[in-house]
């Protein structure tokens, strides 16, 4: 038995090595994509393009506008002269928000009344619209507290201590650099995606070529075939992991406070799982096209959407949380975030290790059983 699995291993590795272009691509592509996304996937909302329509044209309305233009969050694109102009700026996407300062702005404020400004926000990018409204509300609150202080001073009243002050403290990533959340996330996504893709063509390729019958009639058991086929790809994926890890820590300078050994054990387990998913797809699909499409659709977007890379799983709908619990990416995401940023004890990762192991067991079992069906 030992020699049979070695034979399969040797055959698969040779096939891999004989296509040096593919081998090179399998190692270079993840690194290049990681570089591009690591540099480009900036989610910081800064420089939000805004436009103003100042109907008041007073000193105080200008002061209000400065509050926006002086902050790093907003970038003044244009001071419009008509509402139609604002509409057009929103329509073409040149600005994400437009603010109309009414003509009675300074009069109302001087009289100690409330002035109502109008805020128009482009809602087509829903999450960005929420961020914009939040920032504008914060800027307005700031302006209001200045107004109150000034008014109290004018009335000769003592400046009121703010009744509530908020002290924010950020754990795990005190400087709130997005790279510390994005790059480890990309590591998880890449290690789901590439091993899955590498493995997705392995069995189905032989089906298309007809060489699968050699395997069917060879005196090898199903699990030997599956394991023998998985191993070389797992090895390549592991090289990918090491490369991506080194890039995250050295090239991107991501904070890394945890235990490399824990991370690597988790990564190995995770890679084996993802290879298993690819193999399963490969066993089930009759053509390479179908297998490839299934892997792209089945792995690329869901692993980003449901793994908690950008939205905390806790804030998802129950149905989305259910999907999230089904995919190994969310287990590994927790592990990676923990090791990179949080420095938790080993027991904190134990449940996720077990879940990964269970997932792997199930996937490989299904793959082996499904492979048998084809023989019959």
């Amino acid at each position: 038995m030992r020699s049979r699995i070695v034979a399969i291993l040797r055959k698969e590795s040779r096939e891999f090595v004989r296509d040096p272009v593919y081998l090179a691509l399998a190692i270079v592509v993840p690194a290049v994509v990681m570089t591009l996304l690591g540099l480009g996937f900036v989610l910081d909302v800064t420089n939000l393009p805004v436009a103003f329509y100042d109907q008041d044209q007073s000193a105080i309305s200008r002061e209000y506008m400065y509050g926006f233009t002086n902050s790093e969050y907003f970038r003044l694109v244009r001071i419009a002269r008509t509402t139609a102009e604002l509409d057009e700026l929103l329509q073409t996407g040149e600005v994400r928000a437009a603010i109309i300062v009414p003509s009675d702005f300074s009069r109302a404020l001087r009289a100690g009344r409330t002035a109502t400004i109008q805020v128009l926000v482009d809602g087509s990018f829903a999450s960005r619209a929420l961020i914009v409204t939040g920032y504008i509300a914060a800027a307005d609150a700031q302006f209001n507290s200045t107004l109150t202080a000034q008014a109290l001073a004018r009335l000769g009243l003592p400046p009121a201590a703010p009744p509530i002050s908020v002290d924010g403290r950020v754990w795990f990533n005190p400087t709130l650099e997005t790279k510390n959340s994005i790059v480890p996330g990309l590591l998880v996504i890449s290690l789901m995606f590439y091993p899955g893709l590498l493995a997705a063509l392995v069995v189905v390729r032989e089906k298309e070529r007809g060489t699968i019958f050699n395997l069917y009639c060879a005196p090898i058991s199903r699990w030997e075939i599956i394991v023998g086929k998985a191993a070389p790809y797992a090895a390549v994926a592991f090289v990918d992991y090491l490369l991506l890890f080194v890039m995250s820590v050295w090239m991107f300078g991501v904070r890394f406070v945890g235990d490399f050994f824990v991370l690597t054990t988790g990564a190995a387990l995770y890679i084996v799982c993802c290879i298993g998913v690819g193999l399963l797809i490969s066993v089930l699909c009759p053509t390479q096209v179908a297998a490839m499409l299934a892997t792209f659709v089945g792995l690329m977007t869901p692993s980003i959407m449901f793994s908690g890379m950008m939205t905390p799983v806790a804030s998802m709908e129950p149905s989305a949380q259910a999907i999230s619990r089904l995919i190994p990416a969310s287990y590994f995401m927790r592990m990676v975030r923990g090791v990179f940023l949080k420095r938790l004890g080993f027991d904190a990762y134990l449940p996720d290790f077990c879940r990964l192991a269970l997932f792997g067991l199930v996937v490989y079992s299904i793959a082996i059983v499904a492979f048998r069906k084809k023989v019959a």
Binding site: V33, V121, S124, A160
Partner: protein, 373 residues
């Protein structure tokens, strides 16, 4: 010529339609995958999972905390012990913990300042930044109302601004509209690239490309025959997405003209299939083609400006992004569907897609001809 092309088109169609699992995956892609993506709220920063540790347990603290509400915050739990704070943040069960001090009510009543602590999990930097901004806004507003109440009569004359918010194009800021449309446009890109490249490389792998070449069909005809079936299939399937998912389940409004959207979509699919042909001409095996496709697709999808605001990107990368037809298509799609933009407004996007598509088509066919010699 047209009969030759027609024959080839029929052959390509047959090849796709006969592949049962492929048809199933295509149907899945344009219905179920779009539905789940619309529901995933993947890019959302609202409903931040918030845990509350209220040591004051007073009327004042409850009043203050009642302002932390959806859509900005999702209260996931009330903590009892101090250990909970660390545990919940460690395990990711909450992204922020709001800690109200025991003397909250007393200090406010005495005219002092009460210090509320907000602990944030920085592992998700964007959510954390946004959460802090929201809380600052809320407590600022709340403080102002307290000051007003406290200083009694004089306050009737305190000036203030008040905002009237109007969200255009998507008034309830529904991420289902955003997410499902994004997934649809992403699938346009993915499926048209994959199908075409795979079908072309398969001819190479099976050695049937030579048969095509010795047939009277010219290279352009072979190319057109590879592109047309993908075009038809992708456009038909996207119709399914509108009919089965976007309209009935998510109530995505179609504010612009649907023919305009489909014209743009056809142009975009043409650009992506041409790109697929270019990849197929370069690659010798499907495995190679696949890796090249990811190399292009992944950055294309995630740097298209839908996931990340383009204004925050570094300039050279933004410039590279200008070469991606998907970038223009996403801009075009949201404009026509959600904003109801006219052809004149989206003309620059359409022109960019057309230019990139034609360039790709010319490149792939030129390269193909050269490889034949």
């Amino acid at each position: 010529m047209s009969r030759r092309v027609l024959g080839l088109v029929r052959k390509e169609f047959a090849q796709i339609v006969r592949d049962g699992p492929l048809v199933f995956i295509l149907l899945w892609t344009f219905t179920v995958a779009i539905y789940t993506a619309g529901n995933s709220r993947a890019a959302d920063v609202d409903r931040i999972p918030t845990a509350i540790f209220d040591l004051s347990q007073s009327a004042a603290s409850r009043d203050f905390l009642s302002h932390l509400r959806p859509p900005y915050f999702k209260i996931v739990g009330y903590l009892v012990t101090e250990d909970d704070v660390g545990r919940w943040l460690d395990e990711g069960r909450a992204s922020i913990v709001v800690l109200v001090p025991p003397d909250f009510q007393r200090r406010i009543a005495a005219g002092d300042t009460a210090h509320v602590q907000v602990l944030t999990d920085g592992a998700l930097a964007t959510s954390a930044t946004v959460a802090i901004a929201y809380i600052a806004g809320i407590s600022g507003q709340y403080s102002a109302s307290l000051v007003a109440r406290r200083s009694g009569a004089a306050t009737a004359r305190l000036p203030a601004i008040d905002e009237r918010l109007r969200v255009r194009f998507n008034p309830n800021m529904l991420s289902t509209w955003f997410g499902s449309l994004l997934e649809l446009m992403t699938m346009f890109a993915m499926v048209s690239l994959l199908l075409t490249a795979a079908n072309m490389v398969r001819e190479k792998e099976h050695g049937t490309l030579e048969q095509l070449l010795v047939s009277p069909a010219r290279p352009v005809e072979i190319f057109v025959a590879k592109i047309v079936p993908t075009l038809i299939i992708v456009l038909l399937l996207s119709g399914l997405s509108f009919l089965l998912v976007l309209r009935p389940l998510f109530h995505v409004p179609i504010r612009g003209s649907l023919p305009l959207f489909y014209a743009g979509a056809a142009l975009f699919v043409f650009a992506m299939t041409s790109l697929g042909m270019a990849i197929a001409v370069v690659a010798t095996t499907l495995a190679q083609a696949m890796m090249i496709m990811i190399l292009i697709l992944q950055p294309m999808i995630f740097l298209s400006g839908a996931w990340n605001p383009p204004e925050a990107m570094i300039p050279w990368l933004r410039a590279v992004g200008m070469l991606s037809p998907l970038r223009y298509f996403i801009d075009f799609g949201y404009s026509v569907i959600l904003k109801g933009s006219s052809a004149a407004v989206v003309a620059p996007d359409l022109a960019a897609i057309a230019i990139l598509g034609t360039a790709m088509f010319a490149f792939s066919i030129g390269w193909f001809r050269r490889s034949l010699r």
